[in-house]
Symmetry: C2
Subunit: 387 residues, 2 copies
C-alpha cells in the first residue's frame, strides 16, 4: 500500500480525466456517470475493500469540462477526502426513501444542460452498480437529457496504461512470481488441494500482496477439468497436474497468470500439450504488435497450437488486465479491438489433453511499440516436477 | 471447502427454491431472474471466485413452478454440472454480438406466458449484473411480458437462514475468533499497519478461511478516523487503538465482525466509549426479539449509548449477514423490516471518542425465538492491551 490513499500523484488522475474528457467531447457526451468500483478507483484513487458490501451505491460524475464530482455515502467521506477529488457530496446511506438519487440527479442537472446527454457504461463487460429501479427514477428525473452508452469512452482510456500503472502491475506480477517459486514448499503428493490453495494465498501475502482477490486452479491426472473451481479436500496424486492461477492485488492493481506443476513424471501427452502452449505463447510474444487486432492474437495462438497438432480449449485465449482481474479486449475470433501501445494483456492459450482434461498457460505482458514486454517471469519450457 | 461444489445436499437448495416459488406465487410473478453472484450461489451452490472477472454475465431463472434453469457462459458448465441444477444452457462468452441474450430470452419466453411477468431484484442493496444495454434489449424482446421488482421475493427468503446456513456462518465466525486471538502475535507498537493487515489475513487462512474477502480497520490515538480504509505503512504508536474488521469466507459463508486492541494503556475517554459500546451490545443481546423491527434495534443501541453519555457515530448500527458481507435489513431509524427468527445479523454500534475519532464494536448473532444467540465469541468488556 502506498504512503497515502491516492496511490498516485494527483497529476496521474488529472491526466486520466483529461483523456476521458477528450473522448466525451469527441462523442458529444456532456458527462460520464461511473458506478463500478474499478471505474471509481480509476478516476479518484478511492481504494477500499468495502465494495464487498452491496448495500450502498457510489457515484462519480465526470463533466466534459471541469472537475469530477464524487456523490457518495457519508461512510466514505473520510477516505474520499484523502483523494484528489475536491467536490465530494454525501448522503447518509442506506436510505430506503432516497438512496442518493436526489443528490445525484441534482448534481447531474447542474452539470448537463437539459438538451444534453449523460453517458454511462452499458456495453460488454460493464455493469450498473446501483439499484435498477433507482436508475429508472434517475433517468426520468433527468429527462429530457439522454442517457447514452459510455462504454467506449471509458474503455478507450482505461485500456492504455500509463508507465505508473505498468509499474504497479509489474509489482503485482513479481509478487506472484515469488509465490509461485515457493509452491514446491507446500504442494506435494498427498497434500489436500484446499490446503494448497490456502498456503498459496499465504505465500502471496507474505511476498507483499495487499490482498488476494482471486485464486483458482485445479488438479487432475495429466490435466484438469476446469479453471474456475474452488478447491476441495482431495489430495494431490502421482500423475496429477496442479495448476494455480492468481489475481493478487498490490496498490489496487492486479496480476493474472497461472503456473502448472507435475506431481511425479509428466505423461507424454501432457508434455506435448504443454510444449505446444509454450510455443503458442512464444509466437504471440514474437508477433504481437500495435495495430493488430484482438482477433489476430487469437489467430496467432490457435494456429501455433494447430501446427503442434493440439486442439485449443474453448473460450478466450487472453484479455486485458489492470484495475480488475480481467479487462477487454478478448482474444477471440470475434473481437475486433485494435491492440495499441500501452495495453496490458494476458496471453492465455488453453488446450485439450484428453476428453475433460485441459492445460492452460498464462503470461502477462505490456504491449510496446516494438512488441510485448513480459511482466510475469516467463514460465519454464518444461513443467516443474513436485516431490 | 466442502467435499463437493454443492456445499449442501440438494434438498437444501430445493427448499430454497420452494420458498422462492411461494413468494413468487403470492406476488403474481411467473419467473425470477437472478444475475448477482450471491443470488446465484444461494439457489445453485455454484461457488467460485471467478465473479472477480466482470467479463461475462451469468443467469439463473427460477420459474414459479418447476425446476430452475442456469443460463451461463460455457466456461462454467463443468462446475455448474457438479451442482444440483440439471437444466444448464450455455453460450461461448464473451460474444460481442450476443452475449447470452438470445439464449436467455428464449429460456424466459419458454417459461413465462406472453401476458406474464418476470421479477428481478431492482431495489435497495441490489444490482443488475449484466450490461444495461443487454437488459434493455432483453426487456424489448420479452414484451409484452412485464419486468417487475423481485427484491422482496428474494429478500424475504434469503434473510431467514436454515440451520445448515447458521452452522456455516458459525464456522466462519469461529475462524475469525481464533485469528483475533492471535493478533497480539503480530500487532505491537512500531509494527506497520499494512503488515498487520497482511498477517491478520494469513492468520485467517491458517485458521481455516477458504479466502478473505474483506479486511478493513484503522489505528489512531484513542480511536480511528474511519472503518473502510486500506492500511498504510504507518507504525502502531503508543496510545493508538487498533481495529481489525473481517469478512472471512468458508464454504461461501461470511462472518463480519471487528475487534479493538489498545497499544499501551487505554485513555479514559476511550475506555468510557468502549464500555458504552459494550453495554449497548449487551442491551441488544438482551432485548432483541422476533417481531421487533430493524429500527427498534437501532433505537435500543442508540438509547443505551445516550444513557452512557456517548454520541453515536453516523450510519447504520448493524445489518444482515450471510452469503454476502452485508445483507439487509439495516439498523437505522428508517428501516421498518420485521426481525424474524433465523435472521443472522451484526450488532455494530459506533460512537465518537473525539472529533474525527470513533470506535466501532461488532458481534454476529442469529435471532432465535427467545432472542439472540451469539455466533462470534463475545468481545471482552475491557479492550485488550497489546505489547
Amino acid at each position: 500500500m502506498a504512503d497515502n490513499s491516492l496511490i498516485f500523484p494527483a497529476a496521474e488522475f488529472q491526466g486520466r480525466v483529461a483523456r476521458l474528457q477528450a473522448q466525451m467531447a469527441a462523442r458529444g457526451q456532456d458527462a460520464l456517470l461511473l458506478t463500478a468500483p474499478a471505474d471509481i478507483f480509476y478516476v479518484s484513487g478511492f481504494l477500499t475493500r468495502f465494495w464487498e458490501s452491496p448495500a450502498r451505491p457510489w457515484f462519480i460524475v465526470v463533466p466534459v469540462q471541469g472537475a469530477p464530482v464524487a456523490v457518495i455515502p457519508a461512510i466514505g467521506a473520510e477516505l474520499m477526502g484523502r483523494c484528489w477529488i475536491k467536490d465530494i457530496r454525501t448522503w447518509p446511506a442506506p436510505d430506503p426513501r432516497d438512496d442518493g438519487i436526489s443528490l445525484l440527479a441534482d448534481t447531474l442537472a447542474g452539470l448537463v444542460p437539459a438538451q444534453g446527454c449523460i453517458a454511462l457504461p452499458m456495453g460488454l463487460e460493464t455493469h450498473l452498480r446501483m439499484p435498477l429501479a433507482d436508475y429508472a427514477n434517475l433517468a426520468r428525473r433527468l429527462a429530457p437529457r439522454d442517457m447514452v452508452d459510455g462504454t467506449a469512452t471509458i474503455h478507450r482510456v482505461r485500456e492504455v496504461k500509463s508507465e505508473a500503472e505498468i509499474a504497479r502491475i509489474r509489482a503485482s506480477c513479481a509478487i506472484a512470481d515469488r509465490a509461485f517459486d515457493r509452491v514446491p514448499e507446500f504442494a506435494a503428493q498427498g497434500r489436500p488441494l484446499d490446503q494448497i490453495f490456502r498456503d498459496f494465498q499465504i505465500a502471496l501475502l507474505q511476498e507483499g500482496a495487499d490482498w488476494v482477490s482471486y485464486v483458482a486452479g485445479g488438479a487432475g491426472q495429466g490435466g484438469y477439468g476446469d479453471v474456475i473451481s474452488p478447491a476441495g479436500p482431495q489430495p494431490l496424486m502421482r500423475g496429477d497436474v496442479l495448476m494455480l492461477d492468481t489475481g493478487a492485488v498490490r496498490d489496487g492493481y492486479f496480476c493474472d497468470f497461472d503456473r502448472n506443476y507435475a506431481v511425479g513424471p509428466v505423461a507424454p501427452a501432457t508434455a506435448r500439450v504443454h510444449a505446444a502452449l509454450h510455443a503458442a505463447t512464444d509466437a504471440a510474444l514474437h508477433q504481437l504488435r500495435p495495430g493488430l487486432r484482438a482477433c489476430d492474437a487469437h489467430r496467432i495462438l490457435v494456429s501455433t497450437l494447430a501446427r503442434h497438432g493440439v486442439e485449443q480449449a474453448g473460450g478466450r485465449l487472453g484479455h486485458g488486465l489492470g484495475v480488475t482481474l480481467t479487462e477487454w479486449p478478448s482474444f477471440t475470433p470475434l473481437d475486433q479491438t485494435e491492440l495499441v501501445e500501452g495495453m496490458v494483456l494476458t496471453l492465455e492459450p488453453g488446450a485439450i489433453v484428453a476428453p475433460g482434461r485441459i492445460l492452460v498457460h498464462e503470461e502477462n505482458i505490456v504491449l510496446r511499440a516494438d512488441g510485448p514486454e513480459l511482466l510475469s517471469r516467463r514460465a519454464p519450457a518444461e513443467m516443474p516436477v513436485l516431490a
